[in-house]
Structure formats: C-alpha cells, structure tokens
C-alpha cells in the first residue's frame, strides 16, 4: 500500500507517530520516558507562564522532538497582526527547539476580543487575499513556514464563492505555507456540509502537507462536533490511508483532549497508524 514518499516543499521530516502533550501525562512521561516518536504542544499553554507545565516541557523537549500547534494566532482575523504574540511564539519555539509551528485556518476574535474558538472565514476571493497576505507577513516575521490546519466547521457563509478545500489549497500555494491535514476535521466538516471527504482530500496540494492529525469526534446525528474525546473511527482511518497513499508518510499525531485516558491507551491508538506505515513501531526517546 505504501507508495514512494512524496517530499514536502521544505523537506520537513516525517517524525513518525506522536500524541498531544497533556498535563495528565507529565508525571508518567518524565518518570518512564515511554516510547513515542514526538509530541505536539498547545503553544498557548506554555506562553505567559513559568510554572509547572514549562518545567516539565523543558525536560520532555530534551528527549523528544516537539512541534508547536496553536489555537489563537487568528490568521483569518481582520485585526492587526499581533507581533508581540509572535515574539512569544518564537521564543518558545527556540526554547523547545520546535521542529515546526503552526495554527489553524480560521479566526478566533476581532476588535481586540478573543472567543477562544476556531471560527470559519467566508471562502471568498477577499478572504483568500486577506489570509494569504497575513500568512506571508507572519512567515516573514518568524522566518519559517507556518503549518496551518483545516478546522472543523459547523456553518457555511452564503457569500462563500469556492469550496473549503479549494480555499485551503489556494492558500497553501499562494502564501507558500505548509498544511496540517486533520483527517478527522475533514470527516466532521464534510458530514456537516454534506460534502465528499475523498474529493476534499484529493484537492489537497500534498507537497505542502507536512503533518496529519487524527482524533475522535462526537456524532450528534444532525451534525458532528470535533470533541477529541475518544478513539478514531474506522471511516477516518480510511481517509488516513488515502492520505498516506498520496504522501508515502507524514508526521502523524493523535489528539485526545477530553476524557483523557492513560498514556498506554494513546500509544495503542496512535500505534494503529503503523499498519499503514510498514508496521513501524514507536521509538524510545534518546537519553538527555
């Protein structure tokens, strides 16, 4: 099933299989140093604090590759770019030697406020021009590519003039940014908007995709919510298989943020991805 690897634009590495670093597992990780190829952190949880989370992160970053993934960069917002926040991101990235950093294709607030949610933009030419310009500005400032994720969306603006997958593909190419393809979000969004997830995946520019997300969600019947509170469903694994077929291997991460289970359950769940990756097993960390 595995195909020859399609390199990404930046030759960023396939880090293997990782999970989101969550406070519940700090103790377990720093006592046992369990097998895991890499960790993804929620950037904002380690900014404006010098407490316990950063103390553990410093130790973990010495032994595992770290990727930074944020939720408040708000690249779609019409507010001015917050360069002070970018400085904080850059400082954290330097501290943990982040392999890459990113956020979502969305906006989180406007007029100086923050809703702490991932709001969709209208998929219009104006929206695209705005976001391309913002992403370029941010990338120039940070001097590295941004890795942006397709969000789960629950509404469609009447003014949208192109499908989400076209907007994202054009954004990646025109802003020359990297993509984090969340296949669970593809599933959720397509269910919510009655779209074909395979067509969505086939529209992606895979030379821009450097990372993949897997997660569980809640199916309310009328719509799905991206809750990250359970195992990955079989339909999402099928979508993952398709992405793997297209790329030949991308850094793959399991998100599990609510009803967080024991670390061994995360290892087992993300380990299922190895069946698409020549049975590659999770690696033990290097000694600090």
């Amino acid at each position: 099933m595995t195909q020859a690897s399609l390199p990404n634009r930046w030759n960023l590495p396939d880090l293997g299989l990782g999970v989101g670093l969550r406070t519940q597992h700090f103790g377990h990780i720093t006592e046992r140093w369990p097998a895991m190829d890499w960790f993804e952190i929620l950037s904002e949880n380690f900014i404006d604090t010098e407490g316990r989370p950063l103390y553990f992160l410093d130790q973990i970053a010495e032994r595992y590759p770290i990727v930074m993934h944020g939720v408040c960069l708000s690249v779609g917002s019409t507010d001015p770019v917050d360069f002070k926040f970018l400085d904080k991101l850059a400082a954290l990235a330097k501290r943990v030697k982040a392999v890459w950093l990113g956020d979502h294709i969305c906006w989180t607030g406007v007029a100086g406020l923050n809703g702490h949610d991932l709001y969709p933009v209208p998929y219009t030419e104006e929206g695209l021009r705005h976001m391309v310009s913002r992403v370029r500005t941010i990338q120039d400032y940070l001097e590295r590519p941004l890795v942006l994720e397709n969000p789960s969306t629950y509404l469609t603006f009447a003014s949208s003039s192109m499908p989400e997958e076209e907007f994202i593909a054009r954004l990646a190419v025109e802003a020359d940014c990297a993509l984090l393809l969340d296949v669970n979000n593809v599933y959720v969004t397509c269910r919510n908007h009655d779209l074909d997830p395979v067509a969505y995946l086939d529209a992606m520019p895979y030379e821009h995709v450097v990372q993949v997300h897997l997660a569980g969600h809640t199916d309310n019947g009328t719509h799905c919510i991206d809750t990250h509170d359970g195992r990955v469903i079989e339909e999402v694994w099928k979508l993952y298989a398709r992405v793997h077929q297209k790329t030949g291997g991308r850094a793959t991460l399991l998100e599990w943020d609510a009803n967080v289970p024991k670390f061994s359950v995360l290892q087992q769940e993300v380990g299922k991805a190895s069946r698409f990756r020549n049975g590659a097993r999770l690696a033990r960390p290097v000694a600090a």
Binding site: E44, D48, C72, W107, G109, L113, P122, A158, S159, H223
Partner: protein
C-alpha cells in the same frame, strides 16, 4: 448573493462575534442592535448570511458556536473557582460567571488571565452580605493560586543564608520576596474554610474575622497558609522593599520583651525559609547582591 451584495470580511467577523458572544444565544444575538447595525440583512433573513445544512437551520448552526463560547469559558471559571462555587451554590455561581463573561470578554490570547477581575467583579455585583464577603475572600485566594502557578521562577534562599545575616546588617539588608507569592488580607477565615471544603466536606458559614494568608509556589506546587497579624505585616513590609530593621520596627517592635520577640522572629523566618518565601538578599551600600 451577488459579489456586490456580499458583506466585507471584517463586517462578517464582527457580526458573527457579536452573535455568538450574546449571552442569550444566537437568536437574541442576531436580533440585537450590535449585530443589526453590522448586517441588517441577517436580521431580515438569516439565510442570506449563513446557509442552512440538510439537517440544521442557519440559526442552529450559529448556535453551535454560541453555545461553545459560553460553555468553554464557564468550564474554565468552574475549574479555577471550585470553592467559590461551593460558597455561592451552582445557580448563583453560574449566573455570576455568565454576567462576568458578558461584561469581561477575553482580550488575551492565552486563558491564564481570563478571570483576573473575577473576584472584584463578585465584590461589585453580588448582593451585599456575609456570603458575598466570604465568596470574594475565597475567590481572591483561588485567583492568587492561578497567579502564583504561572509566576516567574526564582530559587529560594536557604536557611543558612538567613543565618548569615549579622544583626548589625539589619539596617541595610533587604530581602527579595519570591515573585510566586501573593499576600492576602481577608475578612473571613477563608483559608480554613477552603481547607475543609477542598477535603470534600461542607463547611459551615464562618463568622466574620480578619485573617491573613499567603499563597505561594514551591517546587512547582501551589500552597496557601495563614499568617499571624504581625507576621503578615512584617512580610508585606519586606515585600514593599523595607530593610529588615525598618520592617521589624514598623510591624512588631514594642511587643513583649526582647527575648520573646527574637524567638518569634526566629520562628517566622524559619517558616518562611522552609516555604521558600525569599529569593535574594540585597545589602545597601556594600554593592553586594545575593543572587
């Protein structure tokens, strides 16, 4: 919708934010003046702005975001203020949280500071009485726990470093207080109340009594403890930058005989050293700065 009629991106964002942050939900948000001023066409026919899906109306789709906005922030306040919630009861607490979120929407990218004004908001907005005063005291302690959790790091002074301060140096020695420390003057024995409540019991409403507490972090764990009135006065004087001699004079001088005072001070400094309350020594005039 023709391109000419399509609302600008900024208008759409401001409109959606006004709708989802409305405390009574998306329907009230769409009908309210801030949203109508931005997009009158949405109030006339919401489908002109947000499309329905096969199974959800336009309003139901907007309500997903409106519900999540309050649910997420309520969850944070509930996690940060469990004992305040116990003092007020679930209904009063949730009502207060909703009003707080409505009037103090987040302006920060991280959530650490979301509730920094929550204790003072409770003081202003709850009906006066002992329950409000206790709730405010408890909320101040719970907020302080958040603040010291995130505060800058500093290595504590060892007991031996205190012992090395000679008595004739007191007039020029200043102690640097750990930045992860918040001193609190309270109207109730709120720290005792929290000890009982957080042990899983239902404490009785205490009688008003001035108490003094400190909340601090040691080895990345957050602690809180009561202080004697003189002890608190001395510590806050030191935190304001007074020399040891000035701080002692202003807070505990004239109390009992010299031996007893020395024993009391010794016990307090021993307690503070064990708790890691001080993180440096400055000697005025000598040019020497410890750490």
């Amino acid at each position: 919708m023709s391109l000419r009629d399509a609302p600008r991106l900024e208008t759409i964002e401001r409109w959606m934010q006004a709708v989802v942050m409305h405390p009574e939900g998306a329907a009230a948000g769409v009908a309210a003046r801030p949203a109508r001023r931005l997009l009158l066409q949405a109030a006339a026919k919401l489908e002109n702005v947000v499309l329905p899906s096969k199974s959800l109306t336009s309003l139901e789709r907007l309500n997903i975001y409106a519900y999540m906005y309050y649910a997420r922030l309520l969850e944070i306040l509930t996690n940060e203020y469990p004992t305040t919630r116990q003092v007020l009861g679930d209904k009063v607490f949730e009502r207060a949280c909703r009003r707080f979120i409505e009037r103090n929407p987040s302006k920060h990218r991280t959530l650490n500071l979301l509730s920094e004004k929550f204790p003072s908001f409770l003081a202003r907005s709850l009906p006066p009485g002992n329950r409000r005063s206790l709730a405010v005291d408890v909320a101040r302690i719970e907020r302080a726990m958040e603040d010291v959790f995130d505060a800058p790091r500093a290595d504590p002074l060892a007991a031996a470093e205190f012992a090395a301060i000679a008595a004739d140096e007191w007039h020029r020695v200043r102690l640097r207080v750990n930045p992860a420390l918040v001193p609190l003057k309270l109207r109730f024995p709120a720290n005792d109340y929290m000890n009982v409540a957080r042990a899983g019991a239902s404490p009785r409403m205490p009688r008003p009594r001035a108490t003094f507490a400190i909340v601090y972090r040691r080895d990345f764990k957050v602690f809180r403890r009561d202080q004697a009135p003189g002890q608190f006065k001395l510590l806050t004087a030191l935190a304001r930058g007074k020399t040891l001699a000035q701080a002692v004079r202003s807070s505990v001088s004239g109390r009992g005989n010299a031996d007893r005072l020395a024993a009391t001070l010794g016990a307090w400094f021993h307690e503070w050293a064990a708790a890691g309350i001080f993180c440096g020594i400055e000697r005025a005039g000598s040019g020497r700065r410890g750490r």
